[in-house]
């Protein structure tokens, strides 16, 4: 397998998966925890932690070429416990899908369609995702490549239009560090990098076994997401200021709302940005949806995927309609973080330990 031909779709897969709601809500979350103008350093630290974690996951998957986490779990820890682990991982992917699309629905409801019921917004998204996922991984990768330039263009446009609103005094002092606060911030910035754990799922169809190409793929994906996040943090802090970030629900959109050119016509850029951003949510949803479906199918050995597909769609939809309001939604985010710890660190660690025990056999 040649590395160059195959690494680009995978890099795009990772970037599209990682960028999601974080870009809109993370600045507020981090501002409440860190609360100093150089809090973008937390993002870089978070990316670093995520990269280490990703490499660790790769070390596990490297031992089992062309197998997903769903395949190796039953092999390593026994059929039933393995299936339980699979189900936990599936629960995680479903929960994260539900969380991101509900956040999206809240934003769409606030800024775009205030009379359309959330159920309809979510249904449209889930149905189209259901269709995309049913066509298989190669098509998903193609789809992501198709929309990736649009996403990048929208981010670039927002950056260019916002630059003139930046007030440098908001970003200073840069070098006055309060290390402990920055480290506390890592706890939240780290979660905005989740998405790389789908390496455990992608490895089923792509031979990801050599150190060099995989480190390259992970480095480029997490690195470029980190660059985008840091850029948006600097824009957010520069345009809105730290104290303001703490009280704005969706800072990035408010930042887009601050764009105005004198005269009459160029206003309301936030609507345009939202269209691009919804695509990033859709790509994230697709990746997790696919992982969930694959997981369920591998666990229960189902032949016909359509039924499972519909079931997972229904589950995601129902789960996403569960929170009654935005405060409740954000509080679910904390529970989701615990679940992420399990899926990202506990499960790989457990499997890794067991792989040593039986390592010689496999």
């Amino acid at each position: 397998m040649q590395t160059n031909q195959h690494s680009l779709p995978i890099i795009i897969f990772f970037i599209s998966t990682i960028i999601g709601v974080g870009i809109v809500t993370l600045p507020r979350e981090t501002a409440t925890i860190v609360g100093q103008p150089n809090m973008w350093i937390s993002v870089i630290l978070g990316a670093f932690v995520a990269f280490i974690n990703a490499l660790f996951i790769f070390m596990l998957m490297k031992k089992y070429p062309l197998k997903t986490v769903y395949d190796i779990a039953p092999e390593l820890v026994g059929k039933w416990i393995g299936k339980l682990l699979n189900l936990i991982f599936v629960c995680y992917t479903i929960a994260i899908s539900a969380f991101i699309i509900r956040t999206m629905a809240e934003i769409v409801n606030y800024y775009l369609l205030d009379k359309t019921p959330k159920f309809v917004v979510l249904l449209v998204l889930v149905l189209s995702c259901m269709y995309l996922v049913s066509t298989g991984l190669p098509n998903i990768l193609l789809f992501l490549q198709l929309y990736f330039p649009i996403i990048l263009l929208m981010f670039l446009l927002l950056t260019l239009l916002s630059i003139k609103n930046i007030e440098p005094t908001h970003l200073r002092p840069i070098l006055y560090l309060d290390g402990s606060d920055l480290l506390k911030g890592v706890n939240s910035t780290f979660f905005s990098f989740v998405g790389y754990e789908l390496l455990m799922v992608l490895s089923g169809e792509h031979r990801l076994t050599r150190w060099k190409p995989v480190t390259f793929i992970l480095g480029i994906s997490i690195g470029s997401v980190c660059v985008i996040y840091v850029l948006f943090f600097i824009l957010n802090i520069g345009v809105l200021s730290i104290e303001e970030l703490k009280v704005i629900t969706f800072p990035t959109i408010e930042m887009a709302k601050a764009i105005e050119f004198q005269g009459f016509f160029f206003e309301r850029f936030e609507l345009l940005f939202l269209f691009g951003w919804i695509i990033t949510i859709f790509t994230t949803l697709t990746a997790y949806y696919y992982s969930a479906m694959l997981g369920v199918c591998k666990t229960v050995n189902c032949k016909k995927t359509f039924f499972m597909n519909a079931l997972i769609g229904l589950l995601i939809l129902m789960l996403s309609l569960l929170p009654s309001g935005i405060t409740e939604l954000f509080s679910y985010g904390t529970y989701l973080n615990y679940l992420s710890y399990v899926a990202l660190i506990a499960i790989p660690l457990l499997l890794f330990l067991f792989s040593f025990k039986k390592g010689a056999v496999k």
């Binding site: 359309t116 408010e254 601050a258």
Partner: protein, 380 residues
């Protein structure tokens, strides 16, 4: 057959899309400006003036009949803003839409009674209001201001906002104060000034500014246009204007310098545990108007005298505004921002007692002018 049906069905997606939330643009009542007044009556405390666009009276449009006023003000009373907005629907068939709102005018009495924080919280919470809406304060009634016929623009609300765009023309004009900036100042807990708007011979005129205290978030004082000039020199907002020198204190010998470039740096420094602020003003100017006959601009050193006097004028302006601010114990001079940037350790320790520190803060002012020219011709 089955394939054909599928294609047909998917084509329907294109043709049958409907817009759940669509609002026809001609059915919207676009609002350009809001004026907020205080009634003081028990039941309906506030009065709100909405400036609607009347599209049919806009000249140049196809249906437009020239001559009519392109805006209509509707003033209604109520005890909260949302209620008043909804009450508009009892009198006009077009629902008000605030996405293109330009200016909001507060009357002085309103800001004496209610903290600004609570007055603007509704506007910040609602997604229709942009962060770029300009804010003004007036000593007149806000409804009256919005009713004045504008000079060049079509709407008074637009005219007001555009006036603040002249901040590079005159020292007396402050840059637009936007909703977003007010919100920033309030969350930071800083005092600030709101541009004042008034009426002069039936025309809208920018005046000084109203000072909002960070303690009460109500209006506590006023700045004159001359004091605005001093404030702009301190906060590094000068981008144009003039410095008038009355030489030898007589009217005949005056000279006017045009500001080409200006920059101010605020340097808080620590000396033996005592904070001092060094203000360094640098500016490049050009001789614009000269009433002195004897001056020979072709001989070297002609500018020395002008330079010194100009520096003195600006230094006095700055000293004056700093004295006022320190007497009021309100830091709208952005000294706190620069202290937190340049002396973060000190700031972290002392920011709670900043008012006290600020009021006794020693400030040194250093004005440095360069005269770059005298124009195209010197007839004297």
């Amino acid at each position: 057959m089955k394939k054909g049906l599928l294609v047909f069905l998917s084509l329907q997606l294109l043709f049958l899309t409907s817009c759940w939330d669509s609002n026809e643009i001609e059915d919207l009542g676009m609002i350009m400006g809001i004026g907020l007044d205080y009634n003081g009556e028990e039941k309906d405390v506030f009065s709100m003036t909405n400036q609607y666009v009347v599209p049919n009276n806009i000249e140049g449009t196809q249906t437009g009949s020239s001559g009519g006023i392109p805006y209509q003000n509707i003033t209604l009373n109520g005890s909260n803003f949302f209620q008043i907005i909804r009450e508009n629907s009892l009198e006009t068939d077009r629902p008000p839409n605030y996405t293109h709102l330009k200016s909001v005018v507060f009357t002085e009495r309103l800001l004496q009674q209610e903290p600004l924080k609570q007055l603007i919280s509704f506007f910040l919470r609602d997604h229709e209001f942009r962060r770029t809406v300009a804010i003004f304060i007036t000593k007149e009634s806000a409804a009256e201001i919005l009713a004045i016929e504008p000079t060049k623009e079509m709407f008074p609300a637009v005219q007001m906002k555009e006036l603040t765009q002249n901040h590079n023309r005159s020292l007396y004009v402050q840059d637009t104060l936007k909703f977003g900036e007010v919100s920033k100042k309030i969350t930071e807990g800083a005092s600030f000034v709101i541009p004042e708007i008034g009426i002069n011979n039936g025309r809208i005129r920018l005046l000084g500014a109203g000072i909002i205290s960070n303690k009460t978030e109500k209006i506590v004082g006023w700045l004159t246009p001359e004091e605005i000039a001093g404030l702009k020199w301190v906060t590094d907002e000068v981008s144009g204007g003039l410095v008038a020198i009355k030489e030898k204190n007589s009217e005949e010998d005056q000279a006017v310098l045009e500001i080409m470039k200006a920059s101010t740096t605020i340097e808080p420094e620590m000396k033996d545990g005592q904070l001092t602020v060094h203000l360094k003003v640098k500016s490049a100017l050009r001789l614009a108007e000269d009433w002195e006959i004897k001056r020979d601009v072709f001989s070297e050193g002609w500018e020395e005298d002008l330079k010194k006097q100009g520096e003195k004028v600006v230094k006095e302006e700055i000293e004056h505004v700093i004295t006022i601010a320190q007497e009021q114990q309100l830091d709208y001079l952005e000294f706190s921002t620069w202290t937190s940037i340049k002396q973060p350790a000190y700031w972290k320790k002392h920011h709670k007692e900043w008012e006290r520190i600020f009021s006794q803060l020693p400030v040194t002012i250093d004005v440095d002018f360069t005269l770059t020219g005298y124009g195209t011709q010197d007839i004297n």
